[in-house]
C-alpha cells in the first residue's frame, strides 16, 4: 500500500476519539477511500477549538490529513451535515457498529461499499424505525466485505436448497447443515429464518431472534479472542 503524504476532503466518520496530551485528541476515523486511519487533532480539546463541535461520531465529515506512519496529523475537518444526533438505544447501537469496525477492520484497508452501508445504517438509526433490522443488515454486509459472506440458500452437506420446514445448524466455515435431532445441537436455525436472512427480511419474530444468534456466532468467530464491550454494556443497561 503506497503512503500518500496528504489527503484532502476525504468522506469520513469519527469512530472513536481519546484524549492525547493536554489539549489534543487522537481520532479513529473511518474514511470511504482510505479505510480506517488514526489522526492526531492538535489542540482539539482547547476551550474554544472549532474542531470540538465537529469531530463527533455519527456525523458525516470531510477530513483532510497529512503525514506518514501510524498516526497522521488532521489538517481540517469539515461538517457535511447529516441527520440529527443519535439518541437513546439507537446511540448505543451506533457505538456497537463503531466497535465492530474498530475491531474487525484493519487500518488503511478501504471498503467503499461497506462505508456506504455504514452511512446508511447511521442515517437509519437516527430515524424513528426499529434498530434491529439495521444492525442485522450491517452485520451481514460487514461479514461479506471481510470475505465471509453468509451462505444461506444451499445446505453445506448436500448442496440442496434450504427447506423452510427443516432445522439447521450453521457451521462457521461451511454453512447450514441439516440436523435431525435439534436437542443435541448448540444453536439451531429454521430453514424459514435462514431464507428470511438471505432476503434481508427480518419482520418475522423467529427470523429476528435467530438472525441475531447467527450473526453473534459468526462475529464472535471473526473477533477471535477480542470481546465486544458494547454488547455487555447494552445488556447491563437493560437491568437498570
Amino acid at each position: 500500500m503506497t503512503e500518500r503524504a496528504r489527503v484532502d476532503n476525504a468522506r469520513a466518520f469519527v469512530l472513536h476519539a481519546y484524549p492525547y496530551r493536554e489539549t489534543s485528541l487522537v481520532v479513529e476515523a473511518y474514511s470511504r477511500d482510505h479505510g480506517r486511519v488514526a489522526l492526531l487533532a492538535r489542540g482539539a480539546r482547547r476551550p474554544r477549538a472549532a474542531l470540538r463541535g465537529t469531530l463527533i461520531q455519527f456525523q458525516p465529515l470531510l477530513l483532510s490529513w497529512a503525514g506518514k506512519g501510524e498516526l497522521r496529523t488532521l489538517v481540517k475537518a469539515e461538517w457535511v451535515g447529516g441527520g440529527p444526533m443519535l439518541r437513546g438505544a439507537a446511540l448505543l447501537c451506533g457505538f456497537y457498529l463503531n466497535e465492530l469496525l474498530l475491531k474487525l477492520l484493519a487500518r488503511e484497508d478501504p471498503h467503499e461499499a461497506l462505508f456506504d452501508r455504514y452511512a446508511e445504517a447511521v442515517a437509519r438509526l437516527a430515524g424513528a424505525g426499529e434498530v434491529a433490522p439495521v444492525l442485522r443488515a450491517f452485520e451481514k454486509a460487514l461479514l461479506a466485505e471481510l470475505g465471509y459472506a453468509l451462505s444461506l440458500d444451499r445446505d453445506a452437506l448436500t448442496g440442496s436448497a434450504i427447506d423452510p420446514a427443516r432445522t439447521y445448524t450453521y457451521e462457521v466455515e461451511r454453512g447450514p447443515v441439516p440436523v435431525a435431532d435439534a436437542d443435541g445441537a448448540a444453536a439451531v436455525f429454521s430453514g424459514r429464518a435462514l431464507l428470511g436472512i438471505a432476503r434481508g427480511d427480518y419482520s418475522d419474530p423467529e427470523t429476528a431472534t435467530q438472525s441475531r444468534a447467527l450473526m453473534r456466532l459468526l462475529i464472535n468467530h471473526r473477533l477471535e479472542r477480542q470481546t465486544l464491550h458494547s454488547r455487555r454494556i447494552f445488556a447491563d443497561l437493560q437491568t437498570l
Partner: protein
C-alpha cells in the same frame, strides 16, 4: 552509568500519571532529585496523606475527607434538586454559575461502550439509591454534550423516570454572547434541531 534502582522505581511510578511516558517520567525523576529534594519530600508526603484520607462522599460520590462532604451537608442548599455531573471539575463549573442551589451527584465518568465503561463502572446504582431518598423532587442531568454524555443522560433519565422522579436535561445551543457567524457548524445545527417555541 546505570541509573540506581530507586531512581528507576521513581520514574516507573511517575508513569502512572496521564500523558507521562518513559522520557517525561525520567525527566521528572531527575528534576526532583537534582534540583528539588524539598519538593520531592513534600510531594511524597502530600500523596501519602491524600491517598490515605480522601474518599468518596456517601451522598454525592465526589471527593471528600469527611463521611458526607461540606456541600452535601450545607443547610443552605435545596435538597429537592439533584444535579448529575460527570466529574468534580464539572461540579465546580456549575457552582461558578451561581445559578444552581441544589445538591449534586458526581458519576466520576460517563458511559463509553467502546472503552468498556458501562453502568457498573460509573456509579449508576449509587445514583439510583441517592435519588430515591424521598426528598429529591427533580434530577437535573448535566452530563457533557458528547455522544458518550448523551448516552449517559439517556440511561440516567430512563432509570430515574422508572422510579417516578422528574428528570430534566440542561439546554444546549448557541453560547451566550455568541454571534451565529462565529459559532461552529455542529453546534448551530443542533440548535436548530433543538429549537423551541417562544
Amino acid at each position: 552509568m546505570k541509573a540506581p534502582s530507586s531512581l528507576e522505581e521513581l520514574a516507573g511510578a511517575l508513569r502512572c500519571l496521564p500523558g507521562v511516558g518513559p522520557k517525561s517520567a525520567q525527566r521528572m525523576a531527575y528534576h526532583l532529585l537534582q534540583y528539588d529534594r524539598a519538593g520531592a519530600r513534600r510531594l511524597a508526603a502530600a500523596l501519602t496523606v491524600a491517598a490515605e484520607r480522601v474518599r468518596r462522599c456517601a451522598r454525592c460520590n465526589g471527593f471528600t475527607e469527611l463521611e458526607v462532604c461540606e456541600l452535601c451537608s450545607s443547610p443552605k442548599r435545596d435538597p429537592a434538586q439533584l444535579c448529575v455531573v460527570e466529574t468534580p471539575a464539572d461540579l465546580l463549573m456549575v457552582e461558578q454559575t451561581l445559578a444552581y442551589q441544589g445538591l449534586y451527584f458526581v458519576l466520576m465518568g460517563r458511559l463509553s461502550p467502546i472503552d468498556g465503561i458501562g453502568p457498573k463502572e460509573i456509579g449508576l446504582d449509587l445514583l439510583a439509591k441517592r435519588a430515591a431518598d424521598g426528598v429529591v423532587k427533580e434530577v437535573i442531568i448535566a452530563t457533557n454534550f458528547t455522544n458518550e454524555g448523551e448516552a449517559t443522560a439517556h440511561y440516567v433519565s430512563e432509570m430515574l423516570h422508572a422510579r417516578g422522579l422528574k428528570v430534566t436535561r440542561i439546554a444546549r445551543g448557541v453560547p451566550l454572547g455568541g454571534e451565529l457567524e462565529f459559532v461552529d457548524t455542529g453546534t448551530l445545527a443542533q440548535a436548530f434541531y433543538d429549537r423551541r417555541p417562544t
